[in-house]
Structure formats: structure tokens, C-alpha cells
């Protein structure tokens, strides 16, 4: 190939090679805890020659390495992009606080794990939005990468900053920082976006022109700078309007119709250090038919779409070969619902018997199906088993439409004890709509019921060291759920309810733990925030907020001070009941289920009426052309 001159690929003056100083990196890696968070080089990592690339994408999960690496979406997008020869995807996570201190001291711009290249030299920087309390980490990552925080301050010399994931369904609290949001599933739209970006880059990339074009032509794209909002005197939204012509008023989500032909990863990066989920994660289906009224994922990922057993077996074989992992976790929103679960599990067990590869399910429902499945995957270690009744009383479980009852719990736990499990975890939420003190005390009753079920067994049939843990989170109403209009309980009320349960549990076999209501209050503000909340996130970050989802780093005082300085009333966002007629900040996005359906579900909830699993008959959520309708009906 000598003598061949490569075409000039750098349309703008972005550097191809801005590798950080390796000695400086050595110096700081010697000083930080768990340096393998920052070195990359794992099995199945992809590193490409930058000279041969058209578009380079830096993918960021805004939390620490071992959390981000346990996220399936990251593995999907990483392999999807790297499968294209002309594109590359590299990773960047939030440096832990000790690393942040070191890289600021040594003035090392934040770099990617693959090429150790400065993030600011990439074409695109994409954040996945999984949790509202990671938003200050996004600002911190931009700042450490020496990229201006505000979209309007970034010209063509900086990467285009994009974001997607479940929290992007209410993009407004991040509107000032992010150039472009992707609403919905990313497998198709990410590559479409990169193709259009590449076209612009060849012609001389102009950020404004690019953003206008994709907003006008691509489904699932939201460019916040092309819209504006004005407010009523009471602080609610008066109207949203476009700043240019021919852009959509309603943003339709992206949704993949056929999961078998969709890109699915055949490789996963295998971290050296221990991560949250140290195993293969294989997605069975998207969507969920149960209709739990608190669950955002259950609404926004509709309709349900499954992968076939054949496709899953093909993927499983490739994943086992490429990773060497000895466990496959079958993931989805409710894996026991997979229509061919028995066939899939027995096929997997047959196929991987010699290789000692086990199968596990990340979550179990309290129903009989789950118990049957549990019998099949006997190999799992009999340490602890987790169930989620969600609420303490049947009345309240009906309000949230969690279709399980006390009998289900009795059966499931009874089976678990018979099979040798002795430690049970029960998950609950406190602060659900219509909740009374009586409902809350039901948490204690269920925990004690589990204990009695164990000790009422004949002594010779009690195996192991019994412990039941009731764990309560504070309910955060989320956009696009039937409870999106519902005010959250106040912090005082949460404490009152927590104390009720705490006082009543006096038994060393029964323990109770709960989330910090102050974190849930901030989460509620951001989750249902409007554009004005972006200033709050910025101010909190400036005042030192980082890793707000980590209890050891969450600093409530900072958030309180920031709200005071900006004259933001937290209760307006968190605790206020909205009218059905109010213009909600996220109303311009169409997630599938209709507002009419959400209103009807809310109304039924307050009356304690349940809605059936939509596999037993369509419940009219408003999804057009539901993919599995024919299968279930």
C-alpha cells in the first residue's frame, strides 16, 4: 500500500491523536484505589486505528466503572458501533472521587479506556441516562474532559453531546447541557445518527445545521435548543413552541419491531475487577404486560416483543465462547413471563451441561410459574431469595396493580424453605398513593408471617440460619406512569411511616432497612422536573455534588442551598398533586401508551380496582399495532 495517500478524514481541526501523557497517568494510577477501573485492556475490548475511522463515539455511563460495566445497554451499543468498520466506540466512566482529585491535580483531561485519548477529541460523546441522581456526574465528566457544560457554549471543535436511556423520556432537566436526546431504543437510531453526522463531517460539519436536519428528518430525536417553553403565573407550563419551522411538535419514541433481526451482542467485555453482575446478560424480551402502575419501564418499553428460542440459543453459544463466563442471566423486565421459558431453560441446560454453565434469573415473581422455574435451575446457590410484594396490604397492592397476593407469598416462601433457602428478602415501597398507616404496618406483618412460616415447620425440616429482611424504598412518582400526577409523600411523612415499621419490628430474625427519604425527594424533583431544574443540577454540581446516588457522597445540604439560592420550591415538583389538564414538562414525547389510558389507570388505582395482565386480553393502552397481540390472543 506504499504510496497511497489516505483521504483527509478530519473535516475540522479535531486532533486524531491526543493521547494523554502515560507517565502522568502512571503517577496517578499508583495513588488511586482500584486502578483497574481506568486501564481498559479487558477481553473483548475493541481498539481501532484512528486513521481509518470516519466517526468516533465516546460512550459514557455516568457512574463508576463497575456499575457501568454491569449495564447491558452499554454492551449492546459498544458492540453495535464497533461492528461498523468505519466507526468506533470507546468507553468513559465517572472517575471515583480519589481519581478525580488526582486528575485535577495533574491536569489530565478525562480520557477513554480504549485508546487513552482525550474525550474532547471524539466526534460524539453519548451519555446513558439510567438514574436521575447520576446527573451531576454528567456535568463532572464534561468538566473533567474540558468540554463546556452548556450546549450553547460548545462549537464545532467539541464533541456533539448526546443522551438516551429511560430517563431521557423526560429530557427537560438536562436541556441546557445535552445537544440532542435519543428517545427510545437505540439500536437503529444510533447508527442512523452517525451516518448523517459522517455526511455532515465530509461536507464541513456545522453543528446548528446538523441538529436542524436530524430534528426535521429522524424519528426519536429531540434537540432541546430548537424549542422553548413559557410558564403560567402559578409556575406550571403555559405552552411549548418551536423556534424554527418544520420540526415535530410531538417526538415519537424509537422502537424495534423485530428483536430477532435486531443487532444483539455476541461478545461482552469481561472486566478484570469484580463488577455488580459478573456474568453473561442475555435479553429475552422487551416490554412487560403486567401494568404495575408505579413502573415507568413497564409503560415506556411497550409493547412486549420477544426473541425466539432459536435466536437466544445461537446468541448464548457465541456469548459463552467469547467470554468464558459460567453463568447466563436471563434478563428482561419480568423474565418468568417469557412464553417459551421452560423450553429455553431446558435447551440451555442440555447444551451447556459439560461446560458447567449455569442459568439464573435476575428477578422472580411470587407466582407459581416462578416456583417451577426455580426447581429447574437447582444449581443456583441457596443463599438468599428476593421477592417484591411492593406494598404491605392487599388493598394497596391492588392500588398499584401488583398482581400478587398473600397466598402467593405463602406458597413461594414455603417452597423456598422446603428446598433449603433460609434467607428471604422482601422489597416494598413506602409512600404509594392512598397509603395509610395500616398499609405501612402490613410490611411488618408480612415479614413476621415469613418468619412464622419458617419456624412453624418441624425442627428437622428447618435448614440454615433464618433471616428475613424487609427493605423499603421511598416511592418516586415517574413520568409516563399512571402516578405521574401524584404528589410524593413529604420527607416528614416518610420518616413517620418508616418509624412506624421500625418501632414494631423487634426481633433479631427480622430486619428492616430503608432508603434515605431525602435522596428520594431530590430524585422526585429531578425526575418530574422542567427546564428550570437544569439550573439546579448545575448549581448543585458547582457546589460539589457528585455521586448523589451513593449514600456516602449524597449531600442534602448542598441541594437545599442550591434550591434556596435559585428560589426553586422543591415541593412544587415533588409533593404537588397535578391536575389532569396541566401541561406536563414531558407531554411532548409519545412513549406509546396514551394519556387517556394513564388517566384511566390512575382513576382505577384510587378506587382500588385492578387491571388484568394484557396477555389475558388487551387493556387498551393505546399502542398501535401491538406486536405480540396475535401471539397472546
Amino acid at each position: 500500500m506504499q504510496g497511497v495517500i489516505l483521504p483527509e478524514r478530519q473535516a475540522n481541526n479535531r486532533k486524531v491523536n491526543g493521547m494523554i501523557n502515560k507517565y502522568k497517568l502512571d503517577k496517578i494510577l499508583m495513588k488511586v484505589e482500584k486502578p483497574s477501573r481506568y486501564i481498559g485492556m479487558e477481553q473483548n475490548m475493541v481498539q481501532k486505528n484512528p486513521e481509518q475511522l470516519d466517526v468516533r463515539f465516546a460512550f459514557s455511563f455516568p457512574d463508576v466503572y463497575e456499575v457501568g460495566m454491569s449495564h447491558l445497554g452499554m454492551h449492546i451499543l459498544y458492540n453495535l458501533i464497533n461492528n461498523e468498520p468505519q466507526y468506533s466506540c470507546e468507553r468513559v466512566f465517572a472517575p471515583w472521587v480519589d481519581m478525580e482529585e488526582q486528575i485535577r491535580k495533574e491536569s489530565i483531561p478525562l480520557f477513554t479506556l480504549e485508546s487513552k485519548e482525550e474525550v474532547k477529541n471524539f466526534d460524539l460523546l453519548g451519555f446513558t441516562l439510567q438514574y436521575e441522581m447520576s446527573y451531576t456526574n454528567i456535568l463532572n465528566i464534561l468538566d473533567l474532559a474540558e468540554i463546556p457544560l452548556l450546549s450553547k457554549d460548545r462549537d464545532e471543535d467539541f464533541p456533539l453531546v448526546i443522551a438516551g436511556g429511560p430517563c431521557a423520556y423526560n429530557p427537560e432537566p438536562l436541556w441546557e447541557f445535552i445537544d440532542l436526546f435519543v428517545i427510545g431504543e437505540g439500536e437503529e437510531v444510533t447508527l442512523e445518527l452517525m451516518r448523517v453526522y459522517n455526511k455532515h463531517k465530509r461536507q464541513g460539519y456545522n453543528k446548528a445545521k446538523f441538529l436542524e436536519e436530524v430534528q426535521k428528518t429522524m424519528q426519536g430525536i429531540y434537540v432541546p435548543s430548537l424549542y422553548d417553553v413559557n410558564y403560567n403565573e402559578d409556575g406550571t407550563i403555559n405552552e411549548r413552541f418551536s423556534l424554527i419551522e418544520n420540526i415535530p411538535q410531538i417526538i415519537e419514541k424509537r422502537m424495534i419491531r423485530d428483536l430477532d433481526s435486531m443487532f444483539s451482542p455476541e461478545k461482552m467485555i469481561v472486566p478484570y475487577m469484580e463488577t455488580v453482575h459478573d456474568r453473561i446478560s442475555m435479553e429475552l424480551f422487551r416490554g412487560c404486560t403486567h401494568g404495575c402502575r408505579f413502573c415507568q419501564a413497564g409503560m415506556i418499553y411497550r409493547p412486549i416483543r420477544e426473541k425466539s428460542v432459536d435466536r437466544l440459543m445461537e446468541l448464548a453459544e457465541k456469548l459463552v465462547d467469547s467470554t468464558g463466563y459460567e453463568n447466563i442471566s436471563l434478563s428482561s423486565l419480568s423474565s418468568c413471563d417469557y412464553s417459551q421459558l421452560h423450553l429455553l431453560i431446558s435447551s440451555l441446560m442440555d447444551k451447556f451441561e459439560d461446560k458447567k454453565v449455569g442459568v439464573s434469573l435476575p428477578s422472580l415473581r411470587l407466582d407459581s410459574v416462578s416456583i417451577d422455574i426455580l426447581k429447574e435451575i437447582e444449581k443456583v446457590r441457596k443463599s438468599g431469595l428476593t421477592f417484591a410484594p411492593e406494598a404491605g396490604s392487599q388493598r394497596l397492592r391492588d392500588v398499584v396493580n401488583k398482581g400478587v397476593d398473600e397466598n402467593d407469598l405463602v406458597n413461594a416462601v414455603g417452597y423456598a424453605f422446603k428446598e433449603g433457602w433460609s434467607r428471604i428478602k422482601l422489597y416494598f415501597m413506602i409512600g404509594l398513593p392512598t397509603e395509610t398507616d395500616e398499609d405501612v404496618l402490613g410490611i411488618k406483618d408480612l415479614a413476621y408471617l415469613v418468619k412464622d412460616l419458617f419456624f412453624n415447620r418441624p425442627p428437622e425440616e428447618r435448614k440454615g440460619n433464618f433471616q428475613v429482611t424487609a427493605s423499603a424504598s421511598c416511592f418516586v412518582p415517574k413520568p409516563f406512569t399512571p402516578f405521574q400526577w401524584q404528589g410524593q409523600d413529604t420527607i416528614e411523612n416518610f420518616h413517620h411511616k418508616i418509624n412506624l415499621v421500625k418501632k414494631e419490628i423487634r426481633d433479631n430474625k427480622v430486619s428492616f432497612n430503608y432508603h434515605d427519604p431525602r435522596v428520594s425527594f431530590m430524585e422526585a424533583i429531578v425526575a418530574r422536573g422542567d427546564r428550570r431544574i437544569s439550573k439546579l443540577i448545575l448549581r448543585a454540581w458547582e457546589k460539589g455534588s457528585r455521586f448523589d446516588g451513593w449514600s456516602e457522597h449524597f449531600k442534602y445540604e448542598i441541594w437545599l442551598e442550591a434550591m434556596e439560592e435559585l428560589e426553586i420550591d422543591g415541593s412544587f415538583y415533588a409533593n404537588r398533586n397535578r391536575e389532569f389538564t396541566e401541561n406536563l414538562p414531558w407531554d411532548f414525547i409519545n412513549p406509546g401508551p396514551s394519556k387517556k389510558y394513564l388517566i384511566s389507570e390512575y382513576t382505577k388505582a384510587i378506587k382500588g380496582e385492578t387491571t388484568r395482565d394484557c396477555r389475558l386480553g388487551c387493556t387498551g393502552c393505546g399502542i398501535e399495532d401491538c406486536a405480540m397481540w396475535g401471539v397472546f390472543n
Binding site: K34, I39, G40, M41, Q43, Y272, G324
Partner: protein
């Protein structure tokens, strides 16, 4: 069958912890289907042991590991299969059958290191060599080592001269690092860490070494049989 393997740990993978290395080898053995022996018990784990694990951040051309197998494998075949699955930087360089006997850790008595560092006072190789001549004339050099006595740590003074086999100056590299090779005692009968040696040299010769950026590579580890320094068998 017990296989003794010698392998490297260089580049960024020097930041893998001992636990990370154990996980890497466990996964690699299962991935390439090596018939490794497992311990008995409730939670069986593969039987292999790594001798004298390095501190985080030290490179090595001479890591040793003993692996117990359930059936006989040609050592060269073992190395080849493992190397195909191991990442760049961690590679088996030699491998042979050995008998059950003394543990690796108890055999290792000496380490040969390459140590690189920068100094503020001397950027000339000749000046640095002159300084090292002064070091050679010292009959004793004490450093403070922390020793655990039960749960409390106590300081004690140790003369490090008997723990040093030799120190040889190799010159300056392209990035301005002085290169020194040193034979130091390693293991239960006496141990001197390269960073302790550099600290002592810095203090005694007043060289103003940048102690935050000392790059260390272990070149080899050796056994001591009745005063005779030998390769590990």
C-alpha cells in the same frame, strides 16, 4: 500433574490486583478447557497458586504460578493454549512439569529488578554514576520498616546493605529516566522493596528523586540453595 509456569505482567495490566489475576486465570482455564484440579468442599475453586504476588503497579517478566491438573498435558501445548486466551501483557514464557514440594513462595529468595526514576539534581548519567560510587562505600544504611506485632504496627530500624546483592547503573532512557538494575532479597528470610531502596538512595545521596514516579519491573526471581543463587526448578 503439577505445571510450573513463568509468565509476564507488563504494560497497563501491572495494575491488576492479585485477586484480579486469580479471577483472570480461573476464567482462562475454564475458557480453554484446561483439566484443572478443583478443591473439595462447598464452594470448589481451581487449584493453582501464584508465588510472591507483586505490589500493584509493578511490572514483571518473571511471575510464577503452579497449576495442578487432573490429567497430563504437554507443557508446551498448555502454554500455547493459555497464551491464545490471555490478554496482551500477560503471557506464559516457559512452563515445565514439577513435583509436589516446597511452595513457590518459600523458594523465592532473590528478585532482580529494573528500576527507573527521574531526579531533579542530576540529569547526567556520569554525575549519577559518581553518586552511586558514594553509595558503594556505605557500610550500613538503616531504613524504618513497619512490623506487625499482633494487631499493632511498630517501627523498627533495619540495615538494608545485607539485603542488597548488587546495584548496577544502566544509563538514561529517552524520557530522561535513570535506569538502575538491582538484586534484592525477597521472601520470608529477608525482603527489600525496590521503592524502599530508591527512598534510601535518595536520602543518602540527596538526589531529589521524584518518588511519585518510580517505575519498577521485576526481571527475574531466583532461589537460594545454601548460598547458591539458582533459577527456580
Amino acid at each position: 500433574m503439577i505445571l510450573r509456569t513463568k509468565y509476564t505482567k507488563v504494560g497497563y495490566l501491572k495494575y491488576l490486583s492479585h485477586l484480579d489475576m486469580v479471577r483472570l486465570f480461573t476464567r482462562t482455564f475454564s475458557k480453554v478447557g484446561i483439566p484443572i484440579k478443583f478443591s473439595d468442599g462447598y464452594n470448589p475453586h481451581p487449584k493453582f497458586s501464584i508465588g510472591n504476588p507483586l505490589p500493584l503497579g509493578t511490572e514483571s517478566l518473571a511471575e510464577y504460578m503452579d497449576v495442578e491438573l487432573t490429567e497430563w498435558i504437554e507443557p508446551a501445548d498448555f502454554a500455547k493454549r493459555i497464551n491464545e486466551a490471555l490478554p496482551e501483557g500477560i503471557k506464559i514464557t516457559s512452563c515445565w512439569e514439577t513435583e509436589k514440594g516446597a511452595s513457590l513462595t518459600s523458594m523465592i529468595a532473590w528478585s532482580h529488578y529494573e528500576i527507573r526514576f527521574r531526579t531533579k539534581n542530576t540529569d547526567q548519567a556520569s554525575e549519577f554514576e559518581d553518586s552511586l560510587d558514594r553509595w558503594d562505600k556505605l557500610s550500613e544504611v538503616f531504613i524504618t520498616k513497619k512490623k506487625k506485632k499482633g494487631k499493632i504496627k511498630v517501627d523498627r530500624q533495619v540495615d538494608i546493605i545485607p539485603l542488597i546483592g548488587n546495584i548496577i547503573y544502566k544509563g538514561i532512557d529517552e524520557d530522561g529516566f535513570h535506569i538502575v538494575n538491582a538484586f534484592l532479597r525477597t521472601g520470608e528470610t529477608g525482603n527489600l522493596k525496590p521503592i524502599e531502596l530508591v527512598g534510601a538512595i535518595d536520602r543518602e545521596l540527596q538526589l531529589d528523586i521524584d518518588l511519585d514516579m518510580v517505575l519498577i519491573k521485576r526481571l527475574d526471581v531466583l532461589a537460594d540453595e545454601n548460598g547458591e543463587i539458582k533459577e527456580l526448578a
